[in-house]
């Protein structure tokens, strides 16, 4: 098995590099988009159009002193940011960037992503708990209630697609879709796509569901007390998580690497970045929901809809099997 091992190793290195790069680019894009939406230029001074601003910020973060509040649990406190970042690297492995271009070709790729994405909640909880501060604890409590709730419709919507594709391997799901947009799963599963996007926003703690870090209420929520790279790792993990959910959405609903003319990986990156841009736009468009609204959206709307969607999907899949109709 050395070949497989080397493949994973190369994949991990590529993932680590790309996560860092994506973090830098996304910080710039986020601030630039925010600036333009608010009719101001955004970062402008460092480098042409401020492209080097995230690099300067990163340098500052690395150089900052690491602080720990009095009475914090030293082990858990420093474990939390690491624990939030490490599983993220793993999440990238089963993502099919191109035809055969994936680090870990296993038939349970989707399950692996969903399972390890759940670990993020643990790190938020640990970070909030170990900080021994009210804001952190409140943020952590919110993070747990929210992530646990939003994982369910996320899973159900993903499951509907894998029912149609008949596989949990993301590459297989992509291969089951065609080149053109009307051959993609979003045409047969529009409701699942909507549910997925909404719960993905909730799952990654992005606005309008950014209650765990709600700046205006909890200063920064679970990572209030973290300085320097402790905060930096949480930050990177958030953007990496965004990339993961967008990539999964691309693979499941938007035909993955499939597309006319351009080569596969280009299409994949293009679709993922479009989804990311949409998420950034959401953040600067929608106000943060209240906590009861957040849970109402989930338990009263997304969950029943996802269950209905799953039932209908399984019914039609079975019907198709019986009648031998390919659709």
């Amino acid at each position: 098995m050395p070949a497989e091992f080397i493949r994973i190793l190369i994949g991990l290195v590529a993932v680590a590099v790309s996560v860092g790069l994506i973090g830098l680019v996304m910080v710039w894009v986020e601030r630039k988009v925010a600036g333009h939406i608010q009719r101001r230029p955004g970062p402008y001074e460092v480098g042409p159009n401020g492209v080097l601003q995230p690099l300067a910020d990163a340098l500052k973060l690395v150089g900052k002193q690491l602080f720990m509040p009095d009475g914090a649990d030293p082990i858990l406190y420093w474990l939390a940011p690491v624990l939030s970042f490490i599983p993220v690297l793993l999440l990238f492995l089963p993502l099919p960037v191109g035809d055969g271009l994936m680090a870990l070709d296993i038939n349970l790729g989707l399950l692996l992503i969903l399972a390890f994405a759940g670990l993020t909640v643990l790190s938020l909880l640990l970070g909030g708990w170990a900080s021994n501060t009210k804001y952190c604890l409140l943020g952590a409590a919110r993070a747990v209630a929210q992530s646990v709730a939003y994982e369910i419709p996320l899973l159900l919507s993903v499951l509907a697609v894998s029912f149609v594709a008949g596989s949990l391997n993301l590459a297989e799901v992509v291969k089951g879709q065609g080149t053109w947009p009307w051959n993609w799963n979003i045409m047969t599963q529009p409701l699942a796509f909507l549910i997925y996007i909404v719960s993905a926003l909730g799952e990654t703690n992005r606005a309008p569901f950014d209650l765990p870090e709600a700046e205006s209420e909890l200063t920064a929520g679970f990572h209030t007390e973290y300085s320097g790279m402790g905060f930096g790792l949480f930050f990177l993990a958030e953007y990496a998580n965004m990339v993961v959910v967008c990539s999964v959405a691309t693979a499941l609903f938007l035909g993955g690497w499939q597309g006319p003319v351009l080569p596969g990986p280009v299409w994949f990156v293009l679709k993922v970045s479009l989804l990311m841009l949409l998420m950034v736009f959401f953040r600067w468009t929608y106000p943060r929901v209240r906590f009861d609204q957040l849970l109402t959206i989930n338990w009263k709307w997304l969950m029943p809809l996802a269950v209905l969607n799953l039932l209908a999907t399984s019914f039609f899949v079975k019907l198709a099997q019986f009648t031998e109709v390919r659709w």
Binding site: V33, H36, I37, Q38, R39, R40, P41, W284, Y286
Partner: protein, 187 residues
């Protein structure tokens, strides 16, 4: 029936999300409203109300129009003004003699004291820019300056003597009465 109606209304209200995206999308495309300050400065600062300054006289624009009556200091709700009157110049012996003669004749002596203030102390850190001093000034000797770039390192930087400030502005601009701003600007 009502429950279904409410539920459907929730769904149709989702359209507002699209409207929101449309608004931010439009703002995203529109030109920026801010000016990159150190490189460019604003030009429309005429309506800016900065700290108080003394108005110059008709003949000499750098000699305050103020008559040191103290109405401004009296009217000021924040007590940020202190007007120090000039003392009368010491009369020369001839003048003293003339004065005594005038007194004998029963005439009122002419006051030779200059009317402009010796000091006009203004504490900008207390001033609320209400303009009551200007309203109460019988000579129209006070106005808001257009100085929008005022900054200082300590509280004392905002405690100034407006007479000294006027003299400084005279030294700064020997020829033209209105100093042109250092940075040119866009519309």
């Amino acid at each position: 029936m009502n429950a279904i109606k409410e539920a459907l209304k929730n769904v149709s209200d989702l359209w507002s999300l699209m409207v929101g995206l449309k608004v931010t999308g439009r703002y995203f495309r529109e030109p920026q409203r801010t000016v990159r300050y150190p490189w460019k400065a604003l030009s429309n600062t005429d309506t800016y109300k900065g700290h108080l300054e003394l108005v110059g006289g008709m003949k000499d624009p750098f000699k305050p129009r103020c008559i040191s009556c103290g109405m401004c200091a009296l009217a000021c709700p924040s007590n940020c003004l202190t007007v120090v009157k000039r003392k009368a110049p010491k009369p020369t012996p001839e003048e003293e003699k003339a004065l005594a003669e005038a007194k004998e004749r029963g005439e009122k002596p002419k006051d030779k004291t200059p009317k402009d203030p010796e000091k006009f102390i203004y504490d900008f850190s207390l001033c609320s820019l209400c303009g009551t001093c200007m309203e109460n000034c019988p000579a129209g000797a006070l106005q808001f300056s257009g100085n929008i770039y005022m900054a200082g390192y300590s509280r004392n930087d905002f405690l100034f003597d407006l007479v000294v400030k006027m003299r400084e502005s005279e030294a700064a601009s020997p020829a033209e009465p209105a100093a042109a701003p250092a940075a040119t600007s866009e519309a």
